[in-house]
Symmetry: C2
Subunit: 283 residues, 2 copies
């Protein structure tokens, strides 16, 4: 049973006549006769009663008619959904740094979902390095990361400028703190490299690092005097979070961090991704 056969079948059923169906389909009439006969042989039952003028459906024909209409309907919808100017729909998987997801994305994603409710958004948090791996592994279609990317395989645009600040326990000088711990996200976290860099430049070498999964976890540990971290000011300066931590400004260029949105080069992006990029703010 093929789609084209069903279209022919439906045309005959609709017209009540093989010749008129042939006209409608721009087929020669004998061809339609043959295709109908094939269908009937395949099913082992007649689908039409042959009358002196035209044909009419048998009981079996009526049953098939019902299914055929639903099937043809679905193929039409499928074509529409995949056509060039379809409304953005289908899945859109995005990976993002934890901090960006916390501060920048909520309003952005809400706006996106309001405009394109047919898209099934899927947001996962991951450090930049991991995000890039997911992207190249086709697990996500785009990612928010910090740091450079291989321009061979990946295209990107700058989206957010963040000012990084050092977060430390109150009344403590991070550089002279005893048994210093740095609190960072999972491996691949771009903040970690920056923090370690800065510490090295300031002569502070001995420290341990502790990996935590969430912003709240890091800030709580800092407030408890466990260690220091480095985070975007926009993340820390939310009123409910900045208690019991001291913010220390960092020197240029460490303080400057650019968040980029990245996607695979050499690939026609889905409509959902295209309109997502169009919605991104200029940096």
């Amino acid at each position: 049973m093929e789609i084209n056969e069903l279209k022919i079948f439906l045309a005959v059923a609709r017209q009540g006549s093989i010749s008129r169906a042939a006209e409608e389909l721009n087929y020669v009439q004998s061809n339609v006769t043959t295709r109908i006969k094939q269908l009937e042989e395949r099913f082992g039952r007649p689908l039409f009663h042959r009358k002196s003028k035209g044909v009419c459906l048998t009981a079996s024909g009526l049953i098939l008619c019902d299914y055929a209409q639903r099937i043809i309907q679905l193929t039409g919808e499928a074509h529409d959904a995949l056509s060039e100017n379809a409304v953005p729909q289908g899945p859109l998987a995005i990976s993002s740094m934890e901090t960006t997801a916390a501060v920048r994305l909520p309003s952005l994603l809400a706006d996106y979902h309001r405009r394109y409710p047919q898209v099934a958004l899927n947001l996962v948090s991951a450090p930049s390095a991991e995000s890039l791996k997911k992207l190249l592994d086709y697990q996500v279609d785009g990612a928010f990361i910090a740091g450079e990317v291989d321009p061979q395989a990946i295209e990107s645009c700058e989206v957010f400028e963040e000012e990084l600040v050092l977060v430390a326990p109150l009344d403590i000088d991070p550089l002279t703190m005893e048994s210093l711990k740095i609190l960072v996200f999972r491996p691949g976290c771009s903040y970690r490299a920056r923090l370690e860099n800065w510490l090295r430049q300031n002569g502070r070498l001995g420290y341990h690092s502790v990996e935590l999964g969430s912003i709240e976890g890091i800030l709580a540990c800092v407030a408890a005097g466990m260690g220091i971290s480095i985070l975007p000011r926009s993340v820390v300066e939310r009123p409910h979070l900045m208690q019991n931590c001291a913010l220390h400004e960092l020197p240029e260029p460490v303080r400057r961090m650019t968040t980029r949105f990245v996607w695979r080069r050499h690939e026609k992006p889905s409509t959902a991704l295209q309109v997502f990029r169009e919605l991104l703010p200029a940096p």
Copy 2:
């Protein structure tokens, strides 16, 4: 977009690999590659990401996957519904004399519907001649009629034996009644011929006929003294109907009427019709 293409597409999506899909489908692998490429060209977008090991769906591929599954599902259901041993289903149109429909069919149809609830029963009432026309015009699949049929085009079996009785107003001799009217159904009614026959044989020639659409209408007019009619005893002897009418026995062979169920010869009957015939009582 053809069904077979969709099956190939789904196999690749399921296996995550063109070669394994080819194995599953018993195709050569290059063929599957080609068919997928065709699909992609037709839609103008890639459906799979080519990875070093196998392939995985793109966003467009996921959308199509959804539709393809539903379409394949429907084709399977259609095949099942039209298969040899499917449960009886689909439409079954029956035409019947008014009297048979009133007395004999209610329990029969109820029983049928209880056993085969998937069949869409469609019962229409019509005089025997009209029923035969509908049958040969494929408007109904079977009919209950009285009288002979052309055995060339129509097959039949005897189903009910009725005793016909003359229905007349109380205290009136039908044969001497003034300005006699005979009350019958629409033209083509088999009772009418019998009644006219009997009147002629008994020397009664002058009368008019009145056509009424329902049993209740006929009996009410008889009770009101308007005229006489001829009906099966089983129809008249229902308690709520036999008031204010006199029943006169008729001589052989007029009193004997056989109701037959008829269907088109030279045609494979639908399953719904086959099981309907099996449910009919022996006469």
